[in-house]
């Protein structure tokens, strides 16, 4: 675990609030000069605390009205196909999130689709055909609380 001081945590808080802030704006928010803030952000990146940046888009405005969480269990015979399953599932563009978990399911996925019939197409053609796939459970996202 990396040793982080209060200033590092303040920087992370500022960037959690708005990941688009530049070093100068982060410095202003936490009371550091631009070069000092820049050095600390660089160090947080080098230490792997900040692993990257992402563009946040409005999926609905881009025509993706439906988000579905999937729980996937590998078939008993599918366990040997884990590597194949993983390689194939992460390459599906509509699949935003793939997590290996312990519990009722082996993997959980977040999938975006244009609408429910589009989701049905993705489920049938892309998900159900994955190597080693067993039980699949879908829960449609209603709202973020």
């Amino acid at each position: 675990m990396t040793e982080l001081d209060a200033t590092d945590h303040a920087i992370l808080d500022a960037l959690r609030g708005d990941g688009g802030l530049n070093a100068k704006q982060v410095g202003d928010a936490v009371g550091l000069s631009q070069p000092a803030a820049y050095r600390r952000i660089r160090r947080l990146e080098a230490d792997g605390v900040i692993t990257g940046r992402a563009l946040v888009v409005d999926a609905a405005k881009l025509g993706y009205g439906v988000t579905v969480f999937l729980g996937i269990k590998l078939a008993a015979r599918g366990r040997t196909a884990m590597a194949d399953f993983e390689r194939t599932v992460i390459s599906i563009p509509e699949v935003q999130l793939v997590q290996q978990v312990i519990g009722l399911y082996d993997y959980r996925l977040r999938v975006v689709a244009q609408d429910l019939s589009d989701f049905e197409r993705i489920l049938r053609r892309r998900i159900m055909t994955l190597p080693g796939v067993g039980d699949v459970e879908s829960n449609v996202l209603l709202g973020d609380e």
Partner: protein
């Protein structure tokens, strides 16, 4: 409405969110000023909502991440509202989402270690109102995590 050029810009920005406008313009095959104007318009229209940093929770000393899947007792009046209001007060709960399907709610819980998680689970989660059933999935590894959508 977005045209093909907008979509080309968005694809480049989703693939490399840290790239400068000049780089995005070059990769999308247009000059700097029109590219900048298109990005500004998409930001104004709310198509681009902003940028997010990705943080490795384990590097912050948060080793345990659990996803709870909860079924509520819908015979209780205001079960959803009462549950969500109470769940929001738990600092270790980092996300609450309502679902349509076999379960009603999913929640992300982050903890320092298993002992800490057990304490949160017993003292706070189990005390939440109107829970009928609760399943836990514990994160082993994350293979993909993106906000990007196909454009």
């Amino acid at each position: 409405m977005l045209d093909d050029t907008d979509r080309r810009i968005l694809r480049q920005m989703q693939a490399d969110p840290a790239a400068s406008v000049a780089t995005v313009a070059q990769r999308a095959g247009l000059s700097h000023a029109p590219c900048w104007r298109r990005i500004a318009r998409m930001e104004r229209d709310g198509v681009i909502k902003g940028r997010q940093i990705l943080i490795d929770q384990r590097k912050l000393g948060l080793e345990v991440q659990v996803f709870l899947r909860i079924t509520l007792d819908k015979t209780a009046r205001n079960a959803f509202d009462a549950f969500i209001a109470e769940a929001r007060t738990i600092p270790e709960v980092t996300a609450i989402q309502t679902l349509l399907g076999r379960v009603d709610i999913r929640m992300d819980v982050t903890a320092r270690d298993l002992a800490h998680y057990q304490q949160i689970y017993r003292d706070r989660i189990m005390a939440l109102p109107h829970i009928l059933d609760l399943e836990s999935l514990m994160l082993v590894s994350e293979l993909k995590n993106t906000q990007a959508v196909p454009v």
